[in-house]
Symmetry: C2
Subunit: 270 residues, 2 copies
């Protein structure tokens, strides 16, 4: 039995995860589990976990750490009721030696006793807050993927993890940029305030019409491009590190947690 | 040559650290390096570092992680210009097997190639913000140490690290408690919003006049006791874990960073 996106859209986070775990839904998660944090995912052997955690601590805007499993334990105990990271994400990318080897919908067969799973906050959270404030989001209105760019900004390295920061761009009316910055700053678990707005060249972006990931988006008259740190940054750092084995979510196919989007700390029990 | 507290009080963070490194100042750091984050300190062998980092991630209010060194590297590169964690803190407590073994003013002789140093935000930051808003702080006005209590609230364990949450108490006028909560919530690197206010028994505190650490403070008529998560929590967790060797700062004798108190992320270069 397959469950449709439309059906899950009206349900809870737990219902969405149950359908995903049962293999009944393998699509993207935007708009599911209304009001809860969704998360980017990175799973790797413990050997690399301390360095990756240092990388996240040193680059909290692109890599806002929201949950870390115990070594070998697939349950994300702080992020929700009964979250098994091996089955509860719609699709996973498996990287071997830094290269995408396969995309799967379940990683039970790949799970290792030395794996540590990391959940990192994502932009859905601050986008919802911007929308509640009446700010227009072109990529949402036009049903495209937000444009993402590799910048000239260096991340702070940790062990094998390093690279340039990736940002996502949303064009906003000039006179509402400060408001958007103030709103998103309240969400440190979801990339926080923008890293830049205005001239893209200042952060090393040569052509705003040609994103490195996602779809191009219009910057209208009277609008300013606003750039937020993006969860693709750790993905690039992981590829650069070329770990023998590392598993991430498939972009757009996130972990749906039970933590409220407005939570001060990423623990669904508080 | 000894440098007085009064002399350093008017200087920069770098001046204070230079005096501390030179052995010219070994006192407490409250009020020094005006406007910058100060930090609690925990140094331990790498073997325990991933679990300690998970403990901090899972308990961000008592343990707001602001900086982590590379293994064996005593420089806290993200927290300031030329911070050597072996010499730049006025006094250190050395724990062996979970027990305080000695207090020293320099740990160059104790430093190990496998050490990882952790800096955790402290309450000075949000206290300054409360003071700027005109909120009275009894312990500051009376030149005593803030009262701290062991609560009945369990921390989220990680590996050998566990225990009850420790809180600090500040009594505030009833009608200004919400304001104080709102202000301190803006400082996630410094314990964030209070964990509780009102009846101390609700969080397992039996006698508000008998703190477990610090000095008793008056709760005046019309005042409400307000409780914030406290940096003594990781200290207790470290003692419970009974690591063979662990070094912390001596209470009140903190690391003075170059990171602004109002920084969104704990990196002095941003």
């Amino acid at each position: 039995m397959t469950i449709t996106y439309q059906h899950l859209k009206d349900g809870s986070a737990a219902e969405a995860r149950a359908a995903i775990r049962a293999g009944q839904y393998q699509g993207h998660t935007a708009g599911l589990g209304s009001g809860v944090l969704q998360a980017n995912l990175a799973i790797m052997p413990e050997k690399y976990a301390l360095d990756f955690m240092r990388f996240c601590q040193r680059n909290p805007k692109p890599c806002p750490l929201t949950g870390v499993s115990d070594t070998g334990n697939p349950m994300m105990a702080t992020l929700g009721q009964d979250i098994d990271i091996r089955t509860d994400v719609p699709a996973y990318n498996v990287y071997r030696d830094g290269k995408l080897a396969e995309t799967v919908t379940d990683i039970q067969a790949l799970w290792q006793d030395d794996f540590v799973a990391f959940a990192l906050g994502c932009s859905f959270t601050f986008e919802h807050a911007l929308q509640r404030a009446g700010l227009p989001l072109w990529h949402v209105e036009n049903n495209t993927t937000v444009p993402m760019f590799r910048t000239g900004i260096d991340t702070v390295p940790a062990g094998p993890f390093s690279g340039k920061m990736v940002v996502s761009m949303r064009a906003l009316p000039q006179d509402r940029v400060e408001q958007a910055a103030g709103i998103s700053r309240r969400y440190p678990l979801a990339h926080g305030a923008p890293v830049h707005w205005g001239d893209p060249a200042e952060i090393g972006i040569q052509d705003i019409t040609r994103p490195d990931w996602g779809d191009a988006a219009l910057v209208g008259a009277g609008e300013t491009p606003v750039f937020w740190a993006c969860g693709v940054t750790p993905q690039v750092a992981i590829e650069t590190a070329a770990l023998p084995l590392c598993i991430t979510h498939k972009p757009g196919h996130m972990l749906i947690t039970d933590v409220s989007e407005n939570a001060e700390v990423p623990d669904y029990r508080t």
